[in-house]
């Protein structure tokens, strides 16, 4: 599974994307954040305030409790500020 990061999340993690292979018990977007945070202190710090993080699965914006269900691309980003 590919993970994309944008804006200050990308800067804090010092990477725009990465490939990960989470174990089967990682079922939802929230699980994925927990799993990433448990393996990576930088990730845990950047994702400390979950309410500031938005997620997307295969180019659909979703809530944190949405099941991953074989999504190929997960994206994490801060609140959007376009327009």
């Amino acid at each position: 599974m590919k993970i994309l990061y944008f804006a200050w999340l990308r800067e804090r993690l010092n990477r725009g994307e990465e490939e990960v292979s989470p174990p089967p018990e990682v079922r939802t977007v929230n699980d994925l954040m927990d799993w990433m945070a448990s393996n990576d202190e930088g990730f845990a710090l950047a994702f400390a305030r979950r309410s500031l993080i938005r997620g997307a699965l295969d180019e659909n914006i979703v809530d944190h409790d949405t099941p991953l269900e074989g999504a190929g691309t997960v994206a994490f980003f801060p609140p959007m500020t376009g327009g």
Binding site: F6, A7, W8, A56, E59, P79, M80, T81, G83
Partner: protein, 152 residues
């Protein structure tokens, strides 16, 4: 095609875009154009602004807002242009144009699209000032503006 969404790095000319939009119809009586502009502030002058975006999601989100607005208000035509990359105060960032037989639908449709675009289109503004760079924070007012459309 009644819905057009264009993401681009290059500066655009709001007047030219409006003229082109108006050229494409003879059966509608109302067109509304909204242009968003890079803004500086007197006390904290902005030197430049850089917009990061998530191209595939930005395209699909904007197309989705245009389609929803078209159906909800009965618009005949929608064009959205949104820039990314580096831009300067006074330059246009975004333009939303709606067309309908009568004015209310065109006004409402443009507002609807802009209210969703501000909070749900994946763009992130970073301002460059004399003190350095900073990511622009999301505004509570923008969330509230979008929320209003969810009430029946």
């Amino acid at each position: 095609m009644p819905i057009k969404v264009r993401l681009q790095e290059e500066k655009f000319d709001p007047g030219n875009e409006t003229s082109r939009f108006l050229d494409e119809t003879t059966s509608d009586g109302a067109a509304v154009t909204f242009t968003g502009i890079v803004r500086s502030q007197k006390d904290k002058p902005v030197i430049s602004m850089t917009l990061e975006h998530y191209p595939a999601l930005a395209q699909s989100q904007l197309e989705g807002f245009a389609l929803k607005a078209e159906r909800r208000f009965g618009l005949s035509r929608v064009t959205i242009i949104h820039r990314h990359g580096k831009m300067f105060p006074g330059e246009p960032i975004v333009q939303v144009m709606t067309m309908s037989p009568h004015r209310h639908a065109a006004f409402e449709g443009a507002r609807f699209i802009m209210d969703f675009l501000k909070t749900d289109a994946p763009f992130w503004k970073k301002e460059q000032t004399a003190d350095g760079t900073r990511w622009v924070s999301a505004r509570q007012e923008d969330d509230e503006a979008r929320q209003r459309w969810k009430q029946p």
